[in-house]
């Protein structure tokens, strides 16, 4: 999927200010951002619910909006109950079977062997977690070329979470499905996604493989045995620092030998770069 320069407004308020994003075939791409940054709006543009004002959204080279051939290969798991409340699960399966040519009923039954939902239950009788799991199962059974998931794991218990992740991984490895998944659990995404886009206020601020994104920041531990030196806040790229006694932890937007030398000249007796987690990067990006 290719998203180029997409702008979208609600009335007079612009939500997306020129978003660029791409998902490679067969990869799992994470989308992270604070609530209200425009993730859900972007996803609704991707699935053909909204029409963007500017820019293109292409899946397999074809635009999505009002294009049933493309949409038949796109799965969409929304962030809240998206189905007809009064339908039963088996009616929902039948609905999907009629709506999507590639719907694989056996695959759905196999998934349900693990999850164990009763077919005679109505959607409104399910808990939030159950209906989210149902949405994932139904959409995965389409064998879509790309599945777009808006926080599909929230509300799921640990066991079902693992199951759904396994389902997704299977589909990616066996059928080459591409995934765009948004989540607030960054720790989770780290071991799941090949690449990530970080979104802030309607724009993509970091993008690339997780290592790429991590290389945008550096976390340094420095020991200043003689106390805080002057000029520490002048160091280029410094985002923030804190200390525990004489051990200072600094967050920088770039680290090089030059900076290491500068720190040593300031009296640092020990300088070490520490790996950052995605969560930390997210927090510092959003400050």
């Amino acid at each position: 999927m290719e998203i180029k320069n997409v702008r979208k407004s609600y009335g007079n308020k612009e939500i997306l200010h020129g978003v660029n994003l791409s998902v490679e075939e067969g990869s799992i791409h994470g989308l992270v951002g604070r609530n209200g940054c425009g993730k859900t709006t972007l996803m609704k543009c991707m699935t053909g619910i909204y029409k963007q004002e500017e820019g293109e959204i292409l899946i397999g080279g074809q635009p999505v909006y009002e294009n049933p051939e493309v949409k038949a290969q796109v799965g969409y798991v929304a962030d809240s109950n998206q189905y007809f409340d009064h339908y039963r699960i088996d009616e929902m399966v039948e609905f999907y079977r009629q709506m999507y040519q590639s719907f694989d009923q056996q695959a759905f039954f196999d998934y349900n062997q693990c999850v164990g939902l009763e077919f005679s239950k109505r959607i409104r009788e399910l808990s939030k977690g159950q209906s989210m799991a149902l949405a994932s199962m139904l959409n995965l059974s389409i064998h879509p070329k790309i599945i777009i998931m808006d926080e599909p794991l929230s509300g799921l218990d640990v066991i079902v979470q693992k199951q759904v992740k396994d389902f997704i991984i299977n589909e990616v490895e066996m059928k080459g499905m591409s995934v765009l998944i948004s989540s607030h659990d960054l720790k989770d995404l780290e071991s799941f996604c090949d690449s990530i886009s970080m979104m802030k206020k309607g724009k993509i601020i970091h993008e690339g493989t997780i290592d790429d994104v991590k290389s945008d920041f550096a976390k340094i531990q420095v020991v200043f045995s003689n106390g805080l030196p002057n000029g520490l806040s002048e160091i280029p790229g410094l985002v923030t620092y804190s200390n525990l006694g004489s051990i200072y932890t600094m967050i920088l937007t770039g680290y090089s030998n030059v900076i290491e030398k500068t720190l040593k000249e300031m009296g640092a007796s020990f300088v070490e770069e520490i790996p950052m987690t995605l969560e930390e990067i997210f927090i510092y990006s959003n400050q």
Partner: protein, 128 residues
């Protein structure tokens, strides 16, 4: 089966590679056995898939494992273990460095060989 030590100075992908080789050497993995897929292993170890991919790539280069499209990743037959001369050079360099350190600690040749023997037996002993 695989464990990652985040505190160790060694890169994660190297740790993975070592563990695969260890498992193969000890017989936990037989030639033809399937290794977990890249993503599954990434999830289990809580590391990024790219890291696992890198480890598998390197292992494949060293012909320790082999990827069969559509089927998965398998431990290759012992016969196809090639010796990568470049890798051998790296190891020699490594050993050289370690030996120098031991010499510096006033280990003589016998003591060094005894140490190596001890470590080897420890590794063997971990095999039930």
């Amino acid at each position: 089966m695989f464990r990652i030590n985040p505190a160790s100075g060694k890169a994660i992908y190297e740790q993975i590679m070592d563990q695969v080789k260890e498992a193969a050497w000890k017989g936990y993995l037989q030639p033809g056995d399937a290794l977990p897929s890249i993503r599954k292993l990434a999830m289990n170890l809580q590391v990024t898939p790219n890291t696992v991919a890198k480890a598998y790539q390197m292992l494949e280069k060293e012909r320790v494992i082999v990827t069969m499209r559509g089927k998965g990743v398998f431990l290759s037959e012992k016969k196809s273990y090639g010796i990568d001369p470049g890798k051998l050079e790296d190891i020699k360099e490594n050993i050289r460095g370690q030996l120098l350190e031991l010499i510096y600690l006033e280990f003589d040749e016998d003591k060094i060989l005894a140490l190596i023997d001890k470590i080897y037996k420890e590794l063997e002993g971990e095999e039930k």
